[in-house]
Symmetry: C2
Subunit: 290 residues, 2 copies
């Protein structure tokens, strides 16, 4: 146990126990199990070194209400909303209504995205949207020529932008180290969302990249993939090729300050079993580090 | 890393990939996700120190076909069938049909139970049933005055009997150490099924009891519970009070030869999310020991 790991301990605040999950009987969910309430009782006792969240793209076939119920069922404390759960063109009133739903579920709305920022209008809209929703982070893909504007906006709004890497098919930001070179002289709130699956699919070691870019990683898309090539696709954490024990230890050692957000892209019609297995797997690793 | 841990490494043989899970759309299951097949591809690469199985009581609201599909979905390699999935009074033909279904799902049928053995007829039936099904273990609750007969039968059939402890409400076998005192001079194939949840509910440390009874533990019911009292009930592994990292390390250190069988008693109508989270949690712990 290194000192850096110990100093990174945080209260694992599980606020999922609204009881809302027990009554759901919707499409492809069956009846959700009712352990969310008791999870609050017991999970709150545990000190874990990293905070876990949901990237709502995982739940893209569900509406916001059901997405929040699934998030609570797996006991995640926070969520980053993708546009199908909170459209970018929403009015302030619509945003306020969605924010109220997330809060009522006992979940922290920490970010939005992934949001494309190809022009000034998209950049400005992203910040207005995030501000209205009280988000601290925009997970985004700003075109390189938008980075000076993004740099101004993060200072104006005090909202971070986390550039998302999309792997071997992404000519601009395939891996975080490539994005890092473009932002290293900008405000520290211009950072990275490290998608560890896409880094692996690009043939790079996500733990090494995490160390290399440690000071700018402000969000993480956590997942496992079947192959370290562009053919690799999602699989529940622990079934794929990513050395997640080493990666989680790395996040602890760098005192990673943000959320590890599960983005589970497989089984969109019934993602709960794979998500639950993934969340359990990462908690098991964390409890070995405690 | 101790030598005993390393010497205990086994091939993690994941034989869940029959593809059967993908097409299920049944009661309370929604559409099962389709990662069982790819799990075979990738999980087979992993060396894990302990073998995981399903105690089919977890799936008591489902028929055998659906129980096998759920077992495959969470990637478990073996199963112990409770009587609702293979009635004790089954004919040899009925047993053969069930055995064929389990085999076709790529799953090992390693045991049956929990089976009550209150009289000679029940003891004899349990062994005939297990023999017909090719089981290597009977998980049972033999009355103390049946133990001499059980001792004869394990030698006659070369099938082990694992006495199941049922916690504070069980006057005969509340914890494995109590059962151990009754069997310690019998054939070594008269052993224990350590239900770590009931041991915890009885106020005892399941890791300490595992060490104390190490030479006779031949099966395990793995779970987590909410409280270390008789009021404690099931919760997904990692959400309760059992120190599962310490317990799993203990099973590795004693070179435990059997299966860790998930018995998840909560959410009988929709156990898959809690089971998946539990399986993931234990795999995460194991991968930290690898």
């Amino acid at each position: 146990m290194t000192n850096s790991r110990k100093s990174n301990r945080r209260q694992f605040f599980n606020s999922a126990g609204t009881g809302a999950a027990a009554s759901l009987a919707g499409f492809a969910l069956g009846s959700l199990p009712c352990f969310a309430a008791q999870a609050t009782l017991v999970a709150a006792k545990k000190q874990r070194p990293l905070r876990l969240a949901m990237a709502s793209y995982s739940l893209r076939k569900f509406n916001l209400d059901d997405a929040l119920k699934i998030t609570a069922t797996v006991g995640l404390e926070a969520i980053c909303l993708k546009s199908m759960h909170l459209p970018l063109e929403s009015s302030d009133e619509e945003i306020a209504a969605a924010v109220a739903k997330v809060k009522a579920a006992g979940i922290v709305l920490y970010g939005g995205g992934v949001i494309t920022m190809q022009n000034e209008e998209q950049v400005e809209r992203a910040f207005e949207y995030a501000k209205a929703a009280g988000m601290t982070r925009i997970i985004g893909v700003p075109a390189p020529n938008m980075l000076p504007l993004v740099n101004d906006k993060v200072q104006q709004y005090d909202i971070a932008v986390c550039i998302h890497n999309h792997g071997p098919g992404d000519a601009t930001y395939p891996t975080p180290d490539v994005a890092y070179e473009r932002i290293k002289n900008l405000d520290p709130r211009v950072g990275l969302c490290h998608d560890v699956g896409h880094t692996t699919r690009a043939g790079k070691d996500p733990a090494a990249i995490t160390r290399q870019c440690a000071d700018r990683i402000l969000d993480v898309h956590l997942k496992d993939v079947t192959e370290p090539t562009k053919e690799g696709h999602a699989t529940p954490c622990g079934r794929g090729v990513i050395d997640l024990p080493a990666l989680i230890q790395t996040f602890v050692e760098i005192n990673y300050p943000g959320y590890l957000s599960f983005e589970y892209e497989e089984d969109p019609d019934n993602p709960l079993p794979g998500l639950a297995e993934s969340v359990g797997y990462i908690r098991g690793i964390m409890d070995m580090l405690a």
